[in-house]
Amino acid sequence: MSAVLEVTNIKKNFGGISAVDGVSFDVREGEILGLIGPNGCGKSTLFNCILGQLTPSGGEVRLDGKVVTGLRPSELNKLGVSRTFQLLQVFPKLSVRENLILAGQEHQGNMASRLVGRSDAGLSDAANQMIGFFKLDHLADEPAGGLSYGQQKLLDAAMAFMGGPRLVLLDEPAGGVNPSMLADLKDRLVAINREKNATFVVIEHNMEFVMSLCSRVMVMAEGKVLAMGRPDEVRKNLAVIEAYLGH
């Protein structure tokens, strides 16, 4: 399996604090990589560095072997990298369907064709499919701001898939989602992973969710990688680390 994403020695300093301190790893085509670690260990900062939302202080990010460090988030998204956010990030006044169309429209045609072309950029069917896939049918025409927290999380995830991404970085998708909805979300992620061969990196605190979803798990603490391996290996390792760090 070839590496979709290669991260080499990424560093990010905020003033005197080194939030991410030389992280290297790669993500293979079609895998689901879990990323765990205590709050403030640099997981989200690492995501933001990979996705161009922050400029890394050092290091390199490669997508399919090509250096993409320093590209803007919108440019990375056009290359097939998508994400969800830890905190809710939907467009509250737009309806659920409009949120999804927006999430896909920049991947259709160019600026000019989006101005003169169809109002839905030809995405109504795709949006309706995604609405059905995430079981949001009854909410399709509601403003996204009126949905429950868990439903907005689902919408957030659905939006990340509208552009047909190859690589999706999910930042705590399970946070605040109730157990039955969580099971749904996991099913959806696995289905998209298998059917569309999409590659995922998932930050999550819910260990059960991570261990059952991911093919490999990476553990971070204080901006560094502590361990990387199959879930069962990491689980064993974690006991050692916890004993050692006293978490």
Partner: protein
Amino acid sequence: MISFGKPLKIALGLIAIAALIIVPMNFNRYGLFILSQWAVMSIAAMGLNLTLGYAGQVSLAQGAFVGIGAYAAAIMTTHGWPLPAAILVAIALSFAVGWVLGYPALRVQHHYLAFVTLAFSTLAFLVFRNESWLTGGIYGISNIPRPHVFGLATNKPLPFYYVCLGSLAIVSLAVWWLIRSPWGRAFMALRENPLRAQSLGVDTRRYTLMAFAIGSALGGVAGALYAPLTQYIDPVPFNLSLSLDLLMMVIVGGAGFYFGPFLGAMIAVLLPEWLRFTEGYYLMLYAVAVMLLLIWSPTGILGILDRAMAARRTKAASALRAVAKSRLETVQ
């Protein structure tokens, strides 16, 4: 939206258009001037509504773009160019200047952006006043001709009112198309959540610049009609207070609502006339009315309507739920 039937909406629209065409036929010169002014200000306010209401970029410079359009039209038409050519130049010029003014918005937002645009507004005013070789300085430009449309002279108030109304119709259609296109959706994404928009491939830089440029271009169109409407321009009408007036039209009407600017411009242009009988108290009354409105509904007049319709929908939905619940209970 569900509560208003689509046919009813279309009927209301047609009645409004017919009224705007027929009713002014027996208006006097002054009434037609006021109504023409409403049409022109609606165009400028629609531009600002695009920049501010839809794309969420604060601008205190829309009045300056009306000035740029007005001077472009005044200078060109007094040198023998036809008005349509002048309008095209006004659009191109204010689009380009608006695009450049958009760059600060890539770095600063909200109050800071307001200050940047305010500074630009002052700068434009100084250019209009001081560069007298081009603008006539404080003496302004007079004898601005009115155009011939299909060979018909529009010197009289009524024909020129139709020129303004026709222009408003064209601009309204163009803006309607724009906001329901993917561009309009991207503008709203800028307003609601630029961070998320970026991660979905929305080129926020380009759309921000576009929002400024298109909004400013509409200001230019309004200016290019304002010049032949008044047939005389000097720098005073295009100072900061015009920008503030336009801002108020957008906010009072309802920022981010398609019909907001029409309503806001109507209030700003007509209310002073209706309140004329109060003599010196007009401005005070107007100020109090605006304050009360914004306390009651910060989203403007159309915001009130929007809330009422949302409340009706919620009521209908909870009625449905109550029915469903009682059915469930009887089943049990």
